[in-house]
């Protein structure tokens, strides 16, 4: 009888021990599994999801680009004005050519047809100086203002210094403003840049992507970095449009595609401002 009791006691003790060991093992697996994230990129994605940031499909393919420079020079406006149709009223101010059409050009009411007509208007050298170099930018345009960006030998620009705004009123092209970069040349060799995905990650890392927002589009192009010694330096950049889910406000941010740093507001054209 005594032996049986001892057996019972042992059984209970061992059940206790096993329960204890079981708990120990149950707790350790979290420590045991090797770090789940094999890449910080994956972490950023989940973090962004948790912050309720919606992203479009983004390419993670690296691109390439140059540091480009152009001498500050407004010679082009003289050539432009001699080439344009004689019935255009032109003025030049702030490196911007303002053109108003004394005889406005009629365009279709249908949006598709209208765009095609505006494009062919732009392509005619009598209408727009070097118009063939300008490419339509959907993201920046609306029904009254059709925006085109200049294409350089090294790729598209994304800059107020190389842009065409076609103003349309009552189905008529009434005027336009044009900026143009001439003699753009590389100052250094071709280099790899961030991918669209890399630019978004950089934006998020620098806390420039607010919670509860949606990335509408990303665009790769040359933007002004700094003015130095009579030249303007342009760098490849990612321009990113972000919509706030609550207020529906859209904000535009730019990332230096070489360094991943945020390009500060470009409107303030002081010579020595801190740049990315």
């Amino acid at each position: 009888m005594d032996f049986k009791r001892i057996e019972w006691i042992f059984l209970i003790v061992f059940i206790g021990i096993n329960i204890f060991l079981g708990i120990e093992i149950f707790q350790t697996p979290t420590l045991l599994s090797p770090p789940a994230s094999s890449g910080t990129a994956a972490d950023l994605n989940t973090e962004m999801k948790a912050d309720n940031i919606t992203l479009p499909k983004l390419s993670s393919e690296q691109r390439d680009g140059y540091y480009l420079a152009s001498k500050i020079d407004d010679d082009w406006n003289k050539t432009a004005r001699t080439q344009l149709a004689s019935n255009f009223a032109t003025s030049f101010e702030d490196n911007t050519l303002n053109v108003s059409l004394t005889n406005p050009v009629k365009v279709s009411h249908d949006s598709k047809k209208r765009l095609a007509e505006i494009k062919s208007f732009v392509a005619n050298p009598k209408n727009v100086f070097q118009g063939k170099k300008y490419h339509y930018v959907t993201q920046l345009s609306n029904t009254a203002d059709y925006v085109f960006d200049q294409e350089s030998d090294y790729g598209l620009t994304y800059s107020e210094n190389a842009r065409l705004h076609i103003q349309v009123k009552n189905d008529q092209i009434v005027s336009y403003t044009q900026t143009y970069i001439q003699n753009l040349a590389p100052v250094r060799e071709r280099q790899t840049t961030l991918s669209a995905k890399g630019a978004i990650d950089a934006l998020y890392t620098y806390s420039e992507l607010p919670n509860n927002s949606k990335v509408l589009w990303t665009k790769f192009g040359y933007s002004k970095l700094i003015k130095v010694r009579g030249s303007i330096i342009y760098i490849p950049s990612w321009t990113i449009a972000i919509e706030n889910n609550n207020t529906k406000n859209i904000s535009i941010k730019q990332v230096n595609a070489f360094t991943g740093k945020i390009i500060q507001d470009n409107t303030n054209e002081t010579e020595n401002k801190d740049v990315a």
Binding site: I17, I25, A185, V187, R188, S195, I233
Partner: protein, 444 residues
């Protein structure tokens, strides 16, 4: 009743035996996993965590110079618009696991290959290991190379050569089309006639005649010391002590960052990182991991030089490294040692290239430069390498935070493991010089 009693006993005994066995098994698992756990922890801090960022290894470990033969003359070829080494890097990006065949270990064959006019050559600043060029290879593959031979005719094979031991390797590349690349090289915008000379570390480029070279201008930038303190010591309060020109930040007894205020020079030491990685590939990638940890800006940063435990990364302007003034000429240098790992780096960032008024300067021939070294008493056997690099020539104050610097070409030589400009080598005091005249026995 009796039968029931008997069954109960059997059940009791069986469950007791089962419980004893189960406890043995569970204890075994816990002991086993404990060992496993500590292993995981180690690898986690050693390798798994060492993220290298979006820029791939191949953007840092990149060939920097390109050569090809035309009418019996070797030319150094350059085309900034296309950046041919970058183009080659892209084309060979998909090179994965493949058989690397050793085709020769003979110096005569190697010489023949160097002078084979049917091959163009791409060179790395120093030897790298195979896994850094071909993905999917085992890290333990420690075969090294620094020269790639691309055939201009039969394009199914690529030869990799190691100047140091004169070994030649061959890999099949029938899935990569290099026709366009070869065409671009032949039509590149700039060609400088050169030849090769064998020095202690392998072949150096010889500019046989005085050569005109570009002057470059840069706007420089500098991150504050708090940026580096934060990156290396964390955001926790690091203790700080200033003596004279330098400030020492430390995080406990194991990590220390010394900032020399005037020279932009930083030295970071981590005494906890006291294990020298065994594999060369790991040392190369780990050194880059530490350099990236500092937060130095990277667009022009390239792998430059590796000795057994010392790894140097430099900023490059086009095909040439930029040397910084003073004693620490490297942008970043990682040293692995048994008593801790250290990084010496410089916060001066050549940030924005600025157009130059197309000025060029003439650099003397390499033969002349070498003769000056010989005349000063340096022996050919002690000269590891001689190259053209860029140095800061002029500094014009623009603003408080940003200077405009001019970079001019100059000869730099590595003698007995130490990099200095030709000028500095020639002006070294006799006492110091003698140290570098004898062959080094430490195997540098």
């Amino acid at each position: 009743m009796k039968f029931n009693e008997h069954t109960k006993r059997i059940i009791l005994r069986v469950s007791l035996i089962f419980m004893v066995l189960l406890s043995v098994v569970l204890t075994g698992i816990i002991f086993g996993t404990d060992a496993h756990f500590s292993g995981v922890e180690q690898t986690a801090s050693k390798t798994t965590d060492k993220q290298i960022g979006e820029k791939s290894l191949r953007d840092i470990f990149v060939p920097t110079q390109l050569f090809y033969y035309r009418n019996d003359q070797l030319y150094q070829v350059y085309d900034g618009n296309k950046n041919l080494p970058l183009e080659f890097n892209r084309l060979t990006e998909k090179l994965d696991k493949r058989n690397i065949k050793t085709v020769s270990q003979d110096s005569k064959n190697y010489k023949k290959m160097l002078h084979n006019q049917n091959y163009l050559q791409l060179t790395y600043p120093d030897q790298i290991t195979m896994p850094l060029f071909i993905t999917g290879l085992k890290k333990s593959d420690s075969r090294e190379f620094n020269r790639i031979f691309v055939s201009t005719k039969n394009k199914t094979n690529l030869y990799l050569g190691n100047d140091a031991n004169q070994k030649l390797y061959r890999i099949k590349i029938d899935d990569i089309n290099l026709n366009k690349f070869v065409h671009q090289v032949k039509h590149a915008s700039s060609k400088i006639p050169v030849s090769l000379i064998h020095l202690a570390d392998g072949y150096s480029v010889v500019y046989e005649k005085p050569t005109k070279m570009q002057v470059y201008n840069y706007l420089t930038n500098e991150e504050s010391s708090s940026y580096y303190v934060n990156n290396l010591l964390g955001s926790g309060a690091a203790s700080q002590k200033t003596t004279g020109d330098s400030t020492v930040y430390s995080n406990g007894a194991y990590q220390r960052l010394i900032v020399t205020n005037k020279t932009h020079h930083y030295e970071f030491v981590d005494y906890q990182e006291n294990k020298i990685p065994k594999l060369m590939t790991t040392r190369l990638t780990d050194s880059l991991y530490y350099v990236r940890k500092t937060g130095l800006s990277e667009p022009d940063l390239r792998f430059f030089d590796a000795d057994d435990r010392t790894f140097i990364y430099q900023n490059f302007v086009e095909e040439y490294p930029i040397f910084l003034p003073g004693n620490n000429t490297a942008r970043a240098q990682v040293d692995f040692a048994k008593n801790g790992m250290s990084i010496n780096f410089n916060s001066l960032d050549f940030q924005i290239p600025v157009p130059t008024d197309d000025s060029k300067v003439t650099v003397e021939s390499t033969t002349e430069a070498l003769n000056e070294l010989y005349a000063a008493g340096y022996h050919k056997k002690t000269i590891n390498r001689i190259i053209i690099g860029y140095e800061i020539a002029k500094e014009t104050e623009q603003t408080e935070s940003r200077d405009l610097v001019e970079l001019r070409p100059a000869y730099y030589a590595k003698i007995n493991g130490k990099w200095r400009s030709l000028k500095e080598w020639l002006n070294l005091s006799a006492n110091k010089k003698s140290k570098y005249m004898k062959e080094d026995t430490n195997g540098l």
